[in-house]
């Protein structure tokens, strides 16, 4: 039974490995693009948005395929959605509290 189990995984694994190699190629290309667009003389806002957009694509590829998030169970999705929401709020806490301080002065 464990041999059949291992064999079934073996078939899955070959498919996964092909995907890993494609993701690797995509990540390498996107890394080159990341550096290339930094020399494009965009406005600061556009440069920041573009850099974060490309980084998000790369991060999503790592999370979805290397970390198997795309085929994970529901509990992990719930944990991650809650985390991401708190993360975005956390990013803004210092800046929000600073602006409150400035107006209170």
């Amino acid at each position: 039974m464990s041999d059949a189990h291992a064999h079934a995984h073996e078939i899955d694994v070959d498919h996964h490995v092909r995907i890993y190699m494609r993701v690797f190629a995509a990540l390498a290309v996107l890394t080159v693009i990341t550096v290339a667009v930094a020399y494009l003389h965009l406005t600061t806002a556009a440069a920041v948005a573009l850099a974060l957009f490309i980084a998000t694509i790369k991060g999503s590829l790592v999370a979805c395929y290397f970390m198997h998030l795309i085929s994970e169970k529901k509990l992990i999705y719930v944990v991650m959605v809650v985390t991401v929401l708190f993360f975005f709020f956390e990013l803004l806490i210092p800046t929000i509290s600073e602006s409150i301080n400035i107006h209170a002065g």
Binding site: H16, T44, A47, A55, V79, M80
Partner: protein, 206 residues
């Protein structure tokens, strides 16, 4: 399985479909997201509040960081191939890929070492500016995570691989779990690299 053994280290829980290691590592990674999020939040505040905030491409070595980005991405591939080799029950390939993963982590640390010492050599320290403070803090914390990952991966590569013989499934789960941490470390760098090294600032420099 003895009465004292922790359940669900191999078979998944029937209610969630997950084993303990997997739930545990994702919860830990959630806390790590908040940890690095706090430092990124600090970066945002410092950048918004400081008219003299450093321009990464002027102060840091983009080529070294670009190479380091490729090093970590490659190490993520070798890490997932190490797990795939476990799934294929190929101990030889597992040892090869896990060894490569640790070596690439070491390569990252060496490049980081040269980056840091070049700064120190020019009299540039975390105290030099707010930009350098957040640069050293973010990359320093990240490097500590690379080192921790190297230690854990090193354990599974050498002494820990004994579990292959006694409990192959649990060993494979552990390798996958260590991989999740390693991919997270790569993911943090994927954001660190453009934010610290590439983002322009709108202010003119004296």
């Amino acid at each position: 399985m003895s009465a004292a053994a922790i359940p669900y280290t191999v078979e998944p829980r029937p209610d969630t479909g997950l084993n303990n290691v997997k739930i545990g590592i994702w919860l830990f990674l959630a806390s790590e997201v908040m940890l690095f999020g706090a430092l990124f939040a600090g970066y945002i505040l410092l950048r918004v509040g400081d008219p003299g905030f450093g321009h990464g491409s002027e102060e840091l070595s983009i080529p070294m960081a670009f190479v380091n980005t490729l090093v970590l991405i490659t190490s993520s591939v070798t890490m997932v191939m190490a797990w795939a080799s476990c799934m294929r029950r190929d101990l030889g390939k597992f040892k090869l890929y896990m060894g490569l993963t640790v070596a690439l982590g070491g390569c990252f640390m060496v490049i980081k070492y040269f980056e840091y010492t070049a700064k120190f050599h020019h009299g540039i320290f975390p105290s030099t500016s707010t930009f350098m403070a957040i640069y050293f803090t973010l990359t320093g914390l990240h490097a500590a995570h690379v080192l921790a990952g190297m230690i854990v991966n090193g354990y599974f590569w050498l002494p820990g691989a004994k579990m292959w013989e006694t409990n192959w499934q649990q060993f494979t789960n552990r390798v996958e779990t260590s991989g999740l941490f390693w991919h997270f470390v790569d993911l943090v760098w994927i954001f660190l690299f453009p934010v610290l090294y590439l983002l322009p600032v709108p202010y003119a420099h004296p």
